[in-house]
Amino acid sequence: MIRRRDAWLRFAIKPLVFGLCLAPFLWLVWGVFYDGLGPNPVEAITHRTGDWTLRLLLVTLAVTPLRRLSGWYLPLRLRRMLGLFAFFYAVLHFLTWIWLDQGFQWSAAVADVVKRPYITLGFSALLMLVPLAVTSTRGWMRRLGVNWKRLHRLIYVIAGAGVVHYLWLVKADYLEPALYGLALGVLLAARLRRPWFLTRPSAAARAVQRPRVTP
């Protein structure tokens, strides 16, 4: 049984999720060659790679609450891939900015990282993702032991920075970054030991409840 489940995971589910995660990238590549990115392709690539970084960060963060709620272990086995894809899109997002947008004008780029808070934040989030990607292997998990989990808690900071990075670059319509923020808030709240929206009154609490007085 277990072996069959592993085979499913290895030969069906993982390739499927891999394909799904890669699809936005392939779509972008198609757009570059077939003029499918609209009048401002550089902006389109920047926005889409940014969007997918945030989405995949949130999907990665959804794994733990999903397991807790459903007792389902499958998402946990996909988490590394999801996280690495978030990193992949973050790197593409950065490359788009430094190459297509800034044209490798390093001095201007450095000035922007220093002067523009939203870029400072986005760049910091990218830097924080690097050690997480590097230590995502089984070997590093073993080597770091309990510290691995501590290190990977950085993901909360990174996701928060990502949402604020988006919020700070918007001109007036805060709807989308607010939705990402809301999703992140829910995913973080679901990690609390006893999320308020999942708690049932305990037996003790019920016992204290007074019987309703009926006339």
Partner: protein, 325 residues
Amino acid sequence: MPVLIKKPDSIPSSEITDRKVWESRRRFMREAAVLGIGAGLAALAPPASALLTGPGRNPRIPNVVESPLSTGETPTEYDDITTYNNFYELGTGKSDPAANAGSLKTRPWEIRVEGECERPGTIGIEEILRAFTQEERVYRLRCVEAWAMVIPWVGFPLGDLLKRFKPTSKAKYVAFETLQDPKQLPGQERRVLDWPYREGLRMDEAMHPLTILATGLYDELLPGQDGAPIRLVVPWKYGFKSIKSIVSIRFTETQPVTTWSDLAPREYGFYANVNPKVDHPRWSQKYQRMIGASIFASRRPTLMFNGYADQVADLYRGMDLRKFF
């Protein structure tokens, strides 16, 4: 106010090329260019009067004349100008305005003109198209978001319209308002901005010959997403100053409240002159990305007053442009 630019007094009709002639000439030139023989032929061709023609999606504007105030730069494609818009009244995404413009009804349309003037009143769009010679003005457009286009507007000097209503000596500024009607402009159902959109100019800016009211682009009536039926175009200022779908013009004695400046005064000033030396607090204004350029094209340096410094720098002499950004 010093007149800095010579206006063509009048263009005799004998000098205006018949549409059929220039249309066929342009078509020929385009095809010749495709065949790779454009360079040789261009040298032979006379300095053609060549209005830029659109794809025929909207009615043609008759009797459009060329203007010496046009730039010779290659205009941005019609499809790019009409699918990449900031017009939050029709949605906040760049492609939203084109998708939602169908609900905007541009006929009948009236502009109310009032405030510090002797003859307040209204003027309809048909009257505007009839009474003012429509000129092709190929202008650079620089958005505050650091992208840019070159747009062949059709329009006429704002000053010509303003003079009709006889502004008094108290008229120091001109305030404009966009239509407010969420049924026609569904983006107004959400309070992203403090509707209606408001903009304003100092009187001398409004009377400057470069400042126009545009009724069309590429020889055709404006599509809704570009601010139909009539919008302001001030080519040396960031695009958000060029208010769209205008229903109200008011002469005022004091500086009017303007939408973006009111929303974020640290980021958007009343003047909003294109200035590579004064950054937006959140991004640099030194460079601009040309819409329609190759994905690998580098950004271009942004020019002071969007390249119109010779014509407009005098308006701001002695002013600290860092303070009055």
